[in-house]
Amino acid sequence: MRRTSGELIILCALPAAAILWIAAFFLFPGFLPPMSPGSAPSEVAAFYGDHTARIRYSMILFNWFCVALIPVLMLIVERMRGMAHRTPIMRYCMIGCAGAAPIAFLTATIFWLLAAFRPDRAPELTQLYNDLGWITFTCGVPFLVAQSLFLAVSIFLDQQEKPVFGRWVAYFNVLVAVALVPAGFAGLAHSGVLAWDGLLSFWVKNIAIALWIIVMSVVLGRALPRDRAVAEAAA
């Protein structure tokens, strides 16, 4: 009897989630262009007052679907079983990071939703929620950085004739990790490349994450059939 492992379904669900992420990204008026940390409280309050509905709907979408990345991360963890490792430690590292990163993003959406809940409150309070939302969203990269590094190390240690992932995937992950680093320092600047609306902290960071998701899903997609062939050969 032919058994379906279901892994392909998980992978195919990713584009659907990605469409929702992209839709939410464009729906949120604070991303294009990103809100400036230099705005006065009154400007921030006015922003939430003017765009209340779009902020709410986009953040509810993110709130629902930000955890949709976890199944894909678990697919990577499953692929890691095939690596020439002596211990499951690298997999445990990945699992440890997999849950924490989406939860950090989820926390950011909560702050944004709170800011939009009563746009007529004192502007300083709305600014506070807005700050907390942006800081959590921008600086909350520790688990994404660690995840990429763990994956890179795992691939470097996977020394076999046909490694699970190519060597270049490891270099790519190191590159992504490096690209995420400046975002952690976003608190230091109110304007410029490092600020949360700046080139490094916003554009480079978010493009790196998007690129990582695209590249890793392609890499995963190529790794899946090979595995099936191996399983058939073994049978």
């Binding site: 430690i89 590292c93 440890g96 688990f143 950085v145 020394q159 952690g184 191996v230």
Partner: protein
């Protein structure tokens, strides 16, 4: 018999994780005790004006220190992973290992992410309304200290695994030390009720005694993990798939 070094060392993953733990705890100490001065904690009885002044005074240290945690905090996963692995080597159910893995991974968010976010938000705008600065100040310290209790259950799970284990991965006395640690984690809870005195978040009992016990406990388990790795016997042969190019694809894992 020569010990294989570097990439051929069968214990390389274990050693990598262990050294990452060292790096993480040293980074943690430097950031919290030296850069941000958030340990020992600020005064819980500070009024709005004092809290606002505190943020202004610690501005650079807070932003740079917590930025380092934002970037490298994920290394905490290595310690969780190595401990999870140690539980997998025990003669107990995998449920213990997986519970520990998830419990501590989830605890990372209240454990250090909230304080980083709250303190960064406070330091970013020292001119913010002092009442709001005080709110951030409380959020930072209370989310960090007051939530120590989430580690209680994890500690008990590790304890139960060690006491039941027949493989002697850890000495039994360390199992009991876990109980000591769990019992002092409980003691932090009164920090939610007091803004001064021995039970406040910087108090003698709620903070100092707890942090000394936790420090000892952490030092002990890092050393014991080292012993576990040293005692681990994978043999000295090459990894599967290395020079001999074995046919099989799936390498033999000791624990999978």
């Amino acid at each position: 018999m020569k010990r294989p070094a570097g990439r051929d060392d069968p214990k390389r993953e274990l050693w990598l994780a262990w050294y990452a733990i060292l790096v993480f705890y040293n980074l943690y100490t430097v950031v919290f005790f030296i850069l941000t001065r958030t340990q020992p904690p600020g005064k819980p009885w500070y009024g709005a004006g004092d809290a606002s002044g505190w943020f202004a005074h610690h501005h650079d240290g807070l932003l740079v220190g917590f930025a380092l945690i934002f970037v490298l905090g994920g290394l905490s996963a290595t310690s969780i992973a190595l401990i999870t692995y140690s539980i997998r080597r025990m003669s107990v159910s995998r449920a213990f290992a997986y519970s520990y893995l998830i419990l501590y991974s989830v605890s990372a968010v209240p454990g250090f992410l909230f304080i980083c976010v709250a303190m960064t938000a406070g330091a970013m705008r020292p001119d913010r309304d002092p009442a709001l600065q005080q709110w951030l100040y409380d959020l930072g310290f209370l989310s960090f200290s007051g939530t120590m209790g989430v580690f209680l259950v994890g500690s008990l799970i590790w304890m139960a695994a060690i006491l039941l284990d027949k493989n002697r991965v850890f000495p039994k006395w360390f199992g009991y030390l876990n109980l000591c640690n769990a019992l002092t984690e409980v003691v932090v809870a009164p920090s939610w009720m007091f803004d001064r005195g021995v039970f406040a978040w910087n108090g003698l009992i709620a903070w100092w005694i707890n942090v000394v016990v936790f420090g000892l406990y952490t030092g002990v388990f890092i050393n014991l993990l080292r012993n576990v790795i040293i005692r681990e016997d994978f043999g000295t042969g090459p990894l599967p798939g290395l020079p001999k190019r074995a046919r099989g694809h799936a390498p033999a894992e000791v624990v999978s």
